[in-house]
């Protein structure tokens, strides 16, 4: 045991461990994991489709591709648009960021609207066999992610009006943008599976 007046000394510089700034690491790990749910659905879709004697519900030979194709173009281009919004933020051009960011939100909202229109014109339902279930499950689950993305973007837009909000870095904007790219990539695979592979 030590006595009161003995002096303890450390012969080296004590180390430090960063307390924060791990959000991006955590978020990337989370996204990788999240993508596996989609992967599971994609595998399920493919397995059911390959082994099904009749895939589409009675009276349907396939699904119309026009509307979804427009949607695809919009969503994919929005991934480029959001990239420029980020650029503006890096250059500290707040209004440029806000405007381009908002345009991305509009493009995302249009996608959701297009999805809604497509759904309302379809003649089969969630209960129409394995295909019906899979179709609504995949597009619906993806749509939920798009809506989440738009809401998160709204939050970031709102935060940009708080003075000095982006002084400490743009972590939130960067993760939302990453999430948006993720949603985009998932859609491309989904589009290939459901609409191109008929």
């Amino acid at each position: 045991m030590l006595t009161e007046n003995q002096n303890l000394s450390l012969n080296h510089k004590p180390g430090h461990v960063k307390h924060d700034g791990h959000n991006m690491t955590g978020f990337i790990i989370f996204l990788c994991s999240e993508s596996i749910i989609f992967f599971a659905f994609f595998v399920g879709y493919s397995v059911l489709k390959i082994s099904a004697p009749v895939w589409y519900p009675a009276g349907i030979n396939g699904i119309d591709i026009k509307m979804p194709l427009i949607n695809t173009v919009i969503l994919v281009s929005s991934s480029f648009v959001i990239y420029f919004a980020e650029k503006y933020l890096h250059k500290k051009n707040l209004w440029g960021f806000r405007i381009i960011w908002f345009i991305t939100m509009i493009m995302g909202s249009y996608f959701v609207y297009g999805q809604y229109v497509e759904w309302s014109e379809l003649t089969f339902s969630l209960q129409s066999g394995a295909f019906g279930g899979m179709f609504y499950l995949l597009t619906g689950f993806h749509g939920l992610h798009v809506i989440t993305g738009i809401l998160l973007m709204g939050l970031m837009l709102f935060r940009s009006f708080i003075p000095d909000n982006y002084k400490g870095g743009e972590m939130g904007v960067e993760s939302v943008s990453l999430f948006w790219h993720f949603v985009d990539v998932i859609w491309i695979i989904l589009f290939g599976l459901i609409y191109l592979w008929q």
Binding site: H12, H16, T25, S35, I36, L48, A130
Partner: protein, 563 residues
Amino acid sequence: MTIVNYDPRLVKTKNPYPKGPNDWKRFFSFNTDAKVIGIQYIVTALFFLLIGGLLGMLIRGELITPPSDLFDPTVYNGLYTMHGTIMLFLFLFPILSGLTNLLVPPMIGAPDMAFPKLNALAFWLVPVFSIILLLSFFVPGGPASSGWWSYPPISIQNPLGKVLNGEMLWIIAISLSGISSIIGAVNFVTTIIRMRAPGMGFFKMPIFIWTVLAAQLLQLLGLPALTGGAIMLFFDLTFGTSFFRVEGGGDPVLFQHFFWFYSHPAVYVMVLPVFGIFSELFPVYSRKPLFGYKFVAVASFGITILSLVVWVHHMFYTGTPMWMRNLFMFTTMLIAVPTGVKVFAWIATLWGGNIRLSTPMLFCLGGLFNFIFGGITGVMLATVPVDIHVGNTYFVVAHFHYIIFNTIAFGIFAAIYHWFPKFTGKMFYEGLGKVHFALTFIGATLNWLPLHWAGLLGMPRRVASYDPEFAIWNVLASVGAFILGVASIPFILNMVSSWVRGKPAPPNPWKAIGLEWLLPSPPPHENFEEDIPTVLNEPYCYGLNKPFVEDEQFYIEKSLIKH
């Protein structure tokens, strides 16, 4: 090297628990301290071990006689389903999260987890989904009754036609448990990757950290597949979709793939940290360096990768084509290689060691012995022709209880005893610990060893009544189960009375090497606070005269200062 004069007694100590009152109340609050959360997890999980154990004893009570006389067979179906579900999702996963929470930050020299708030959220989901699961006992039609694997078509039958039913609550509870586990996994992996002490490269990490990393990566890769399957099952049950319904063009076997793609790795999520515990404890209690540290470390990742490609061994008899059976028989047997590396390393560590048979070591040795036995029956089951015969019999039940209880739970008990002084600051009673071990070992062996014979003779699992020729094995098993029930008494007594009035524990009662043993018992709120040690070697250099951290004496003396 700079010299920093530093006398910790002169530095004003911050309130060691700034985020809450320093008393029992903090265990009932949304506390973000990993050490509090760890204990919250462990105590909650042990409570559910009692509930799950009670259900287990009810099952064994039914099976002590051949006819189904104690329960209606339908009730019996609910009992074993809930028993398995509670043991896995309310006991094993939470208790391992608890140990991981307690051990990871101090072992790597981090002040806390990377995301303390998410950490607390992950814990508080446990009581939420536990209550949902237990409520299912009271809904019309009773709890889920299709076994812990919930295979369709049985699980989506919903005989009463009610929207709110036991199976639905089961799926909701399991999904919430999945969310909690994913939050935990993101947290653990980030913490281990980003917050290690200076000098602690990957090949200086304790093996426990290696195994946690391997196990949590498995969670991240596997669990979402089960979540996907569970969502589809939920839709089939509630919204009348046909993902797994043959009538609508669905495929029930698809669910089995989703389920086992996760649930086989899940058994490794549970056993890997226990491998870590073995690797930590054997060197301490035999005073020798861990044999083949690097091999043991890397083998953890061998297990991670292989365990993602063996799941079909649970489906050898559900219409799997021959080529697939052979392929998965091969991969399953391959997994014996990294596992074998670890087993040999432990035996070599023990060999010629100065073995001290204290309670934690007894549980470790018992666990290792049982693991070797359970591993052998595992390889037998991986052999397709054998499995076709004994699949779905009590042989499988015996195999996995040898692993899940006799190995994993043994390792958990070993860990609880070993680190009890560190995190409560009190010593436990060695005598009571030994009684606990003896009762547990006898009870567990009597419970599951005879069931191998029942299974080999063809007794099917999940039945409330059976042919009288199997009676003798079942009587033995039931007696074992009741002994296990009794074994909880010395354990609870020991834990409660030691925590309340045990002798104060020194910082390093077992003379162990490791960052956590350089901290006072219990460690202060932020572990090493501002002076984190620089690690020089892996923590297994017993008798090698190699320094563990720079300036070790400083930390030892600091840990001895009374606050």
